[in-house]
Symmetry: C2
Subunit: 206 residues, 2 copies
């Protein structure tokens, strides 16, 4: 915990809280790369001294850790939120995809940063480990949905899981909040395409 | 064109041709980032002097240009290969997805590098422009397939195009040639999931 009083919110008042500091740092990491962003750059963008930053965090590595944990915590919350509802694995799977879309939209800069992590430090390696754990649990959900007959059993569950999340994760590359599609429209559209397919459904004979 | 004679192939003989030089450079760019890779690093990896590298290419920027153009040329060849075949837009679309999967598998390091380009130089901006042109043509193909009734018309073609390529491009992140799935199995699996959907097809009543 920081001992510096929080002197302002995100707008209109001087000073920074940790959340704002993190937003600015994540934007810088995404634009210039984590390795390419120094504390000087963060200090410049925030308009505060480096020592003022060190009142809030121990350094760049802690900012990265806070950022990737925020993305990962949100994604795990989606998996965990479904665990005790009395639904089929197939329903859980579809809800997990929709929930992940919502996280990608709500936390786009944080997930973007997470997806670029390559394992170059203990913090990055821990993030990769949590991503693998997430992928493993998600693939297990696909396998259970296949076992109950809700999804195809002619595709390997691990393969299907990777394609689903490949499509979801691609949102970090192209989704723009001002592009005319709401978060729910994206969640619905993605679920429709991935679960029902792009091909036009054949109509029952009249 | 280089005036240096090509003194060897990829293995077993001394010297480098441009193709080998490019392979080594692309591997370095993908591991360390383009900005983080200097000519010293390339010289070290190749075991040749920097001036020997300059016999082949004018510098790092030319290596990047050759690399991203190789990926882009292969992707455009997939779009163009289908143009004069007497098939429906829907068949063309599905074949383009399969063809793009083959390119991603065959040229994985080159496409990986292409997808990381952010527009920081004239070469990068030209690559982004070619990517946009590709996306535009691909979205047009989705729109024609929808117009002829082959794919859903309840999804925006631009949205559908981005989701399809999001799934295809994700191969750069997770596909491993030694992972047990052949290139054709990946092309078939991806086309099945994206066009027919993950949901188990309902069986006709007995």
């Amino acid at each position: 915990m920081s001992t510096t009083p929080v002197t302002g919110g995100r707008r209109g008042r001087p000073g920074y809280d940790r959340a704002t500091l993190l937003d600015v740092a994540v934007a810088a990491f995404n634009e210039r790369g984590y390795d390419g962003t120094g504390m000087e750059e963060l200090s410049r963008r925030l308009g505060i001294t480096k020592s003022a930053i060190y009142h809030h965090v121990s350094g760049k590595e802690e900012l990265l850790e806070l950022a990737v944990d925020r993305a990962l915590d949100a994604l795990f919350a989606v998996l965990d939120a479904e665990l005790d509802r009395p639904v089929t694995a197939t329903e859980r799977l579809e809800e997990t995809v929709r929930g992940a879309v919502r996280v990608l939209v709500d936390e786009q800069p944080y997930v973007t940063l997470l997806l670029r992590v390559r394992g170059n430090s203990p913090v990055e390696r821990r993030a990769l480990e949590r991503r693998r754990e997430f992928d493993h649990r998600f693939a297990g959900l696909v396998a259970r949905a296949a076992a109950e007959g809700g999804v195809r059993d002619d595709l390997d569950p691990g393969f299907a899981a990777r394609v689903l999340f490949g499509a979801v994760n691609s949102l970090t590359e192209w989704y723009r909040p001002d592009g005319g599609m709401t978060r729910e429209a994206v969640a619905d559209g993605l679920a429709t395409l991935l679960f029902d397919g792009l091909r036009r459904p054949s109509r029952p004979p009249a």
